[in-house]
Point group: C2
Amino acid sequence: MTDYPNFGFQILKQDAQTNARLGHLTTPHGSITTPAFIFCATKAAIKAASPVDLRNVGADIILANTYHLMLQPTADLIAQMGGLHQFMGWNAPMLTDSGGFQVFSLGHGSVAEEIKGNRDLKSPPMLKKITEEGAIFKSYLDGSTQVLTPERSMDIQRKLGADLIVMFDECTPFHVDKKYTSDSLERTHRWGDRCLKEFEKEHAGKQALYGILQGGVYEDLREQAAEYVNSRPFFGNAVGGSLGASKEQMYEVAGFAMKYLRKDRPTHLLGIGGVEDIWHGVGLGIDTFDCVAPTRMARHAGALVRWEKGFKLNLRNARFRNDPNPLDHECDCPACQTYSRAYIHYLFKAEEILGLQLLTIHNMRFMMRLIETIRIAIKEDRFLDAKKAWFQI
Amino acid sequence: MTDYPNFGFQILKQDAQTNARLGHLTTPHGSITTPAFIFCATKAAIKAASPVDLRNVGADIILANTYHLMLQPTADLIAQMGGLHQFMGWNAPMLTDSGGFQVFSLGHGSVAEEIKGNRDLKSPPMLKKITEEGAIFKSYLDGSTQVLTPERSMDIQRKLGADLIVMFDECTPFHVDKKYTSDSLERTHRWGDRCLKEFEKEHAGKQALYGILQGGVYEDLREQAAEYVNSRPFFGNAVGGSLGASKEQMYEVAGFAMKYLRKDRPTHLLGIGGVEDIWHGVGLGIDTFDCVAPTRMARHAGALVRWEKGFKLNLRNARFRNDPNPLDHECDCPACQTYSRAYIHYLFKAEEILGLQLLTIHNMRFMMRLIETIRIAIKEDRFLDAKKAWFQI
């Protein structure tokens, strides 16, 4: 039986009106408060920001992707260099995914679009075959044939050495039918058991394994998935897979998942991290979120700012050309403390790298301010009021 | 008569064996110790580094380029935004060039190659005409026709608001003959007088004007140029133009210039900043240097490191793939304190922006450590010994 002596999860406060909760998650590389947002250092680096920048905005946990790292620079090299924490200079909690999400997403369409139900037909089919054994796919780097199995995913994640790791699952796409989703779910559960078995073989107490809940948009399959992960000795659970074609459906499906999941484990929502999504997800009882959107948006001149038309300002817009205001008057980040919108608008026009750096820092700080607002609201028993206030601008 | 009440230059220590000197240069935005290296924020931003990064490595003065900024975002916009210091968040001494160097370099060949005598025939001729009035050229951004005159250069530099500004000159290329160089020098001196006249018109004590010494590779023309700038009320002097086809010729020509220049003014060497060049230039009595090489090299995976084969390591080299050492054991920069060569090698291979950021910070810190070594050596009367030691690895 797997146990996790160096890990812990305590619920410090339960909201009275919703399932929102304040928690404390302990790992060998430190503790974090939940709800938490996990920034994506996809290829062992946050794009355009350093670990020091992350720490300075208040971030305390990051994620790296098994799929990218197994291909380059390889898990063996990272292990030889002392593991991912040392390799990338991040001495704090870290999560890796199983690699499955990218393997299956690249097989069916683009990653971000697929999870939201919008199939991108332009993407090349990189997934060659799914068998009981695992998945055979082509490397995005050199086209070489690669195999990912539950055992290999565990082995790679062990070598990378993140604190929190996840089981290998099939992320079923939105466009498949219920029969496929159901068959896939059963195989995913067999894969989950193989992951647990492999994990326990060399379990040195340094890592904790999360189960993943699939089941597409079907409530009964989500219930079946919850029963599976609830009954296995995972440290935490993660909600994955296609959550539907619209925000409404996404919230409905996330609701199905959270309805059946046990409440004593930390629960992660995979790859979803829009501003509304986080407020909604926290209300459902989700503890951690990850999403590339805040940093990716920054590289496309999008600033996360609360304003009358939503949460994004496009800094390329000509109206910012001579705007002396900071990006966001509410924000305490270095970009907002020092620079005008006019300067950042100019940096993007002049294609200066500093533009990416400043918006990335700002967007990371925005996410941390959002999370800090939520944490305080739960603590002070005013989660729903705080949610309402956040959307009133 | 121009004077500079808010500026000062004191020689604190004169080396006994060479012309090297330790100085103190005061501007309205603070003081710097000389010798100093001026980092190039060409388009009002250091590529891949923030002003905070610059401060953290010990940099105390930067340069921005009139040519680029007059075209985008324009001097008027920068003035409207409170001037260049405020626009780019740099509250410390700053220099702008006259714009002439880029106008003439882009007319004859590439900037960096031309100054070193290697004409790059591939560059498009952007310079349309040089007249007594000024230079007519095509914008590198949109091909529009632009005019730069001594008066316009002063007006633009006044709007940008750097502490140290320079006269508008013709930077003669290496391949022209002595007759052209001599005629051009005389026109440059007429332009210098027009700059002084224009500068004095609206001289509010916030800026100090440098004269520029041209004259190509000819000692008598350099002498004539020195006589000109020495006799005019410039705050400092800058050595510009073609310094020859080889390092030996460059040092010879810089020697001609320094032989005739008055010693009581701060003296800048324009666009030259190789490691050997700085040691040599300081020995000739040059106080400040600027060069894009340290930061440009970083963006091409070149790390400034003292090792048996020189001062540059190419981090793309496969031998760094699993090298656990820091870039440079001698270095105290954040990149060397945290990361391995293997990680930085990987970042360049994976095309992660963080690779540029880390090498840029390292190279900037390398230049500051070089400058600090030189300053201490002059202070302790062992400049030549320190120079010898620096090249013994």
